[in-house]
């Protein structure tokens, strides 16, 4: 029943999915942290930018963002992100699109973590003369990260599944392989089940492990 699977590079496709997810996760964690810092910062312009960015980007469908990176940035404006062949360009554009989108959710998850840190701590830190950067970097964010592990895990799981949208611009990941297999084999249900199983293998441990980590590192108050 599953013998047609030998003709396809299933592991290779899922490896691309993992690469997409890991690179986008790292990128959106960095950009999301910067956004969160802007949103809680003292400069009105940055606060405004952070708020506007999050509210605009998270309300645009991911497919539109990913297609825009290819049709708009690449084909119309000629942005190629330092690559020459179409496959690498598409991969990088997809990572860019996923980072731009996911970071708005990372920002909000982190901000909810920041809200768990009692205001008194930030006030006390300011009172002994720490700057905004020091208050955020040494006092607030370390605690905020520890209490937002579980919401961040949710974002990561969503991100892993969102990588399938990259198939829209031709990144050869699991969803694209699924389309090829369905086109050739006429085995819709079986193929979908195999791909769904692959994603469960990726996301289920992620959720369990990060849930455990979240409990372990949570700040006991």
């Amino acid at each position: 029943m599953f013998d047609f699977l030998q003709d396809y590079d299933l592991l290779g496709a899922f490896w691309t999915t993992v690469q997409l997810a890991v690179l986008s996760a790292v990128g959106s964690l960095i950009w999301g942290t910067v956004l969160a810092a802007m949103r809680v910062g003292p400069v009105p312009l940055m606060r405004g930018f952070g708020t506007a960015y999050v509210n605009i980007v998270r309300n645009i469908p991911l497919t539109v963002i990913i297609l825009f990176t290819s049709l708009g940035l690449n084909q119309t404006l000629g942005v190629s992100l330092g690559a020459n062949d179409v496959e690498t360009i598409n991969f990088r554009l997809a990572v860019l699109g996923l980072i731009l989108y996911t970071s708005s959710f990372v920002c909000e998850a982190l901000r909810s973590g920041i809200n768990t840190v009692p205001v008194g701590q930030a006030e006390a830190a300011r009172a002994i003369g720490l700057s905004f950067g020091q208050v955020l970097g040494n006092v607030v964010l370390p605690q905020a990260f520890r209490s937002s592990v579980v919401p961040l895990a949710n974002v990561l799981i969503a991100l892993i599944k969102n990588t399938t949208v990259a198939a829209a611009i031709g990144v050869a990941e699991a969803a694209l392989l699924m389309k090829e297999m369905i086109e050739n084999e006429a085995q819709l249900l079986l193929i979908s089940a195999v791909i769904a199983f692959g994603f469960v293998v990726l996301t289920l441990p992620t959720g369990l492990i990060l849930g455990w980590v979240g409990k372990k590192v949570a700040v006991k108050r």
Binding site: Q75, V86, I169, G170, K179, E183, N184, L189
Partner: protein
Amino acid sequence: MKLRKVSAASAAVLALALTATACGSDDGDDSGSSGGKKITIGIKFDQPGLGQKTPGGYEGFDVDVATYVAKKLGYSEDQIEWKESKSADRETMLQRGDVDFIAATYSITPQRQEKVDFAGPYLLAHQDVLIRADDDKIKSPEDLNDAKLCSVTGSTSAQNVKEKLAPKAQLQPYPTYSACLPGLQNGAIDALTTDDSILAGYAAQDQFKGKFKLGGFKLTNENYGIGVKKGSDLKDKINKALEEMVADKSWDKAVKDNFGPANYKNEPAPKIGDIKS
């Protein structure tokens, strides 16, 4: 209390929606006063020249063929119910009995024949490329190796390019053929590749007239058949209808009507059961 109001309101909306759609689909039955029998046919809704949904109804070569076949089976035009059958859903729709037959750029392949039966073929298409009308770089299939090609994600044409036709070519897959066209127009993409019948449909669209041309390379053979449920007795009846369609020249007329403006040189009507590999 508030919850009850909301659910009552949504129930009302749902009921309204149901009655509204019921009205819509009843219309066909009422006008076709001959006992209300209907035939459901699966076509593509988004392929100009083959099967396209327009504000005024449905048009394209597949639609013309399906209408003719339905007529020979004893159904008039207003007894046909059109259903969209996307490529990935075609086998399932036939197996479940959602549609009586499918004429939707359905190439006959051995894998598909295991699942469904095919009448026809009714059209022999070839994989080809659509290029800018002023492009003189792409003259032979070998030239494609230096070109940037576009096709639909996961489609047979996209896979053929990667595996056989031009392994060195750069391939940009998109979810639809229409997404390839802006890039083809502004030069970011050199060629759009898929079956020539589909390409001819795009080139014949009003907004693209004179901008694109077909390469004429005949890269593969695609035998379009009419899919029916495995073991269905429709297969022989449809084959007979297709033979008549070719014999009384309706087939030639349908080809000319739908592909004419693109300067598409069609193959002669294929013989029933003659599947070219």
